[in-house]
Amino acid sequence: MRGKPRFGRLASVVALGLALATAPAAHAKKKDGDEAVSFDKDPYPSTYKAYPGRPTALVGATVYDGRGKRIDNGTVLFSGGKVVAVGGADLAIPADYDRIDGTGKFVTPGVVDAHSHLGDYASPGVDASSDGNEATSPTTPDVWAEHSVWPQDPGFSRALTNGGVTSLLILPGSANLMGGRSVMLKNVPAITVQQMKFPGAPYSLKMACGENPKRVYGSRGMKPSTRMGNFAVNRQTWIDAKAYMEGDHSERDLGNETLEGVLKGEILVQNHCYRAEEMALVLDMAREAGYKVTTFHHAVESYKVADMLREADVCSAVWADWYGFKMEAYDGIPENAALIANAGACVVIHSDDQNGIQRLNQAAAKAQAAGRRMGIDIPDAQVISWFTYNAAKASGVADKTGSLEEGKMADVVLWNGDPLSVYSRPEKVWVDGAMLFDADNPKLRPVSDFELGQPGEGDVK
C-alpha cells in the first residue's frame, strides 16, 4: 500500500528462478566445508497448469508486440499455450487454427501489473481480510505474500476483464523497511494460491523507504522514526545478513534466507521509494551491501534523476498522475513517465490499487499525452511496453511473458479499440492460450465464490 489514508472518509463512504525451482534442495556448506544444512527453497511450489486452449489465429488487427513494434493488419498465432508466430497479413495460418477477425481492433500482450496487493488486501476491505502488512517489526523479510493471498478476491476478475491483466506481482505492503517476499501470479481463477503461482518466476523482496516505515514505527516510539533511522536499521540488517550468509547455517532463519537470496542475486528487490534523493541513497546502500535494486516503485520524483536511474539500470514503476496525497508525493507530475522514458530509463506503469489495475492502459495513455504536450512524443508501440514488457521485466518474468514473441506464454488481449483510448476495453483475454474472458459470452466471466448469490452476481461489472 502506498501508505496514504484511505480514499478519504467521503469516498470510503468514496520466485525463485527456474534453476532454483528445478533444484528444490539447496545445500549450504559449513565453515569446515561439510555439507550441513539442506532445505527446500520452494516449499510451496506452483501447481499452476495452463487451461485448455484452441490453436488460434488473430488476424486483421493492429498488433503491438510489447517490445516497441507495431504491425498493421497483423497476424498472431498461438497454440499449446505458446505464441507460435507474429507477423503481417501474409503469415501462413495452419489449417487447424481458429480464425478470429480483429479488423478495427487491437492486440497486445497480456497486461502485467508489477505492483498489486490483490488477495492480500482483498475486497471487501474489512479488517478480517487485511493481510498485506506484517506491521509488527520494521523488518520482516521472513514473511511471504503468498501466505496471505485470498484467491477469491473479486479484484482478480475485474483486473482480467476490464484491464486485460494476465499476470501480477503481489507485494507485501510498505509499512516495513523490508516487508517480505512477493509472489508472482497468473491471473486465473483458482482455489489455492499455488494454482495461481507463475511457474518459474523469481521471488522479490519488497522494501520501502521514506515516510511509511518511519511513521508506522515512529508512532510507536521505536526505531525507525526518521529517514536516518530507516537507513540505520536497513544497513545493520544487511550487515547481519552478510554474517549469516558467511556462517554455517546451522539454524534456519527465514528472514536471513530471504536476504541471502537477495545478496546472491536470486531474489529481486522491489523498493517503494518516492523521492529523488532517497533513491540515490538506496542505490548507494545497495552498492554497500552488495545487491541490486530492480525497480523503484511509486517513483514520483524519478524525473529529477532519470539519468542516474538509466545508468543504474533500474526501472521506475509509476502512476500516471497521482498527486499530493502525502508529503513525498507533493512533487509528482503527470510528465514523470515521459521524462523517464525520454532519458532512456525503464518506465513501468503500476497500480498499487484494486481499481487502477483495471486501467493500466489508460494510465499509460495519460502519461504519454502529458509528455506529448511538452514535446516528448513517445510512439504508441513503446507506451504499450510500459504495462506489458517493462512490467514483466520489473517483475523478473520478461523471458516468459510481457511480449508477443515466439515461444513465450500466449498471454494475449484483443481490445475492441485502441488500448490507449478511453473508449476501449478488452474484448477477449487469453492466459497461456486459454480464453478466460470473452465480452461476447456472458458465461466467460469469472464469478468468485464470494460473489455467488450476491447482488450483481455475473453482472458485466
Binding site: K4, P5, R6, F7, G8, R9, L10, A11, S12, V13, V14, S123, P124, G125, V126, P154, G155, R158, N162, E211, Y323, G324, F325, K326, M327, A329, Y330, D331, G332, I333, E335, L339, A343, Q354, N355, Q358, R359, Q362, A365, K366, Q368, A369, M374, N416, G417, L420, S421, V422, Y423, R425, A439, D440, P442, F450, Q454, P455, G456, D459, V460, K461
Partner: protein, 438 residues
Amino acid sequence: MKRILALTAALGALACPLAASAQNIAITNATLAKGDGSEPVEGASVVVQNGKVVAAGVGIALPAGIETVDGTGKWVTPGLYSALTDLGLWDVQAVGDSNDTAADESPFNASLDVVPALNPSSQHIAVSREGGVTRASVTPHPGNSIFSGQGALIDLGADAAIVDNARAFQFVVLGETGARLAGGSRVASQVVLRNALREAKALVGTPAGAERASDAMLTHADAAALGPVVKGEQPLYVMAERASDIRAVLALKSEFPALKLVLVGATEGWLVAPEIAASGVPVITAPMRDLPEQFEVLGSTQSNIGRMVQAGVKVAIGMFAGDNQPRWATEQAGNMVALTRMPGATGLTWAQAFAAITSIPAEISGMGGKDGGKTEGVLAPGAVGDVVLWDGDPLELSSAPVSVWIDGVKQPFDSHQARLRERYQNLDRTYMPKAYDW
C-alpha cells in the same frame, strides 16, 4: 469573481464589475460541446462579453472588433463542474496540519461551515483548473458525527475570491460510516438523524428567547444550522450506498416533506432506480466502482449510472474528494461511454456523459439557471463565462485544456506541477544548480 449573494450577481456587470482582466473574446471554428446534453457540433463559435456567454453555436455573428481565438481542430466546452470536492481544504492529505476536511474532535457538527477554511492558493485548485475544472462544490468530511457540516460552492479563478455560495448544503452520512459515527448501528444513525431534524424543526418554531426542550441533544449552533434544512431552504446531501439505505433516505420525506434531498454515493442505486426516479431526488456518485469493497456495496457495477439514467434519475458524476482528483472527471465520463461498447453493460452517450460533469452537477448544486441560480456548466447565452478550449475530444485520455477562462478571465497555467515540469525538462546540471532555473 466574488459571489456572496445571488442578488449581487443578478445585478450583473454594472453593480459588480468583474476583474479588469475579463476579456471580450470569441472562439471560432471549434467543435462545440455545450454541456447541456446535446451532441457536439463542429465549426461553432462561442462569444464571451463582460464575463458572460452571449452566444454559442454555428453560424453566429461575431461582435465587430472582438478578439478572436482560432479553435480550428480544437474543442470548446463549458468549464467542468466538480461536485463534492474537498478542494481548498487541504494541501497534503496525510499532513494533518494542512488538512481541514474533518473536525473529528469538535463539539460542533452541522454548524461547521467550510468557508473560512477555503484556500484559493491550494495547488489542488490550480491543478484542477489546468484540467478544465472551473466550478465546484466543496464538502466537509464526516468527523465525529453523521453531520459533516455545510458545504460551499466555489469558482476556481486564480484570485482571492473563491466563494460563489456559502452554506449551500448540509452533508449527512448514513450507511456503514454513519452507523459507526452514530454509535454503532444503522438503527442509531436513523434515530440521530431524525432527532436532529426534529430538534431543528422545534427550534425554528420556538419564539425568540424561549427555552428549548430540556432533553435537547444538539448544540444550539447545530440545531440552528439545521433550520434551513428542515424548511427546505438548504439541500440535505445524504450519503448512502446500499439499496436498503437508499430506501431509508427516500422514506425521510414522509416525516419531513420539505426536505430537499440529494443522494450521494448510491452505489447500489441501480437496484432501486425506479424508486429514486419516482422521488425526484438527484444523485451524485462516483462512476467507476465495480468491486464489493464494503458489504454495503456488494452490488457495485460500472453500469450503475447508466441504469439509473435509463430509469429517469438525474445523475451527476462527482465525489472528487480525497485522492480522486477533480481533473479525472473527463476520464471517468469517457469510461461511461466505453461501456456502451460492452455487451451487457449500460453506459452513457457522449453527450450524456459530458453533461454528467458539467450542467447536471451544476443544476444539482442549484447553479443551473433554475431556482434563481446562475447558469453554470453550460455554454449558452447568459451563462457564466467559464470556457475551456481543448486540444481534442475532452473525454479522451490524450486531450487536455489549451486555455481556460473563468468569468471571461483567462487563467494562468503555472501550478507547482507546471513549474516542476519546466525546471526538469532537461537534466543539464553543468552550469548552475536547478535551483536557479526558475
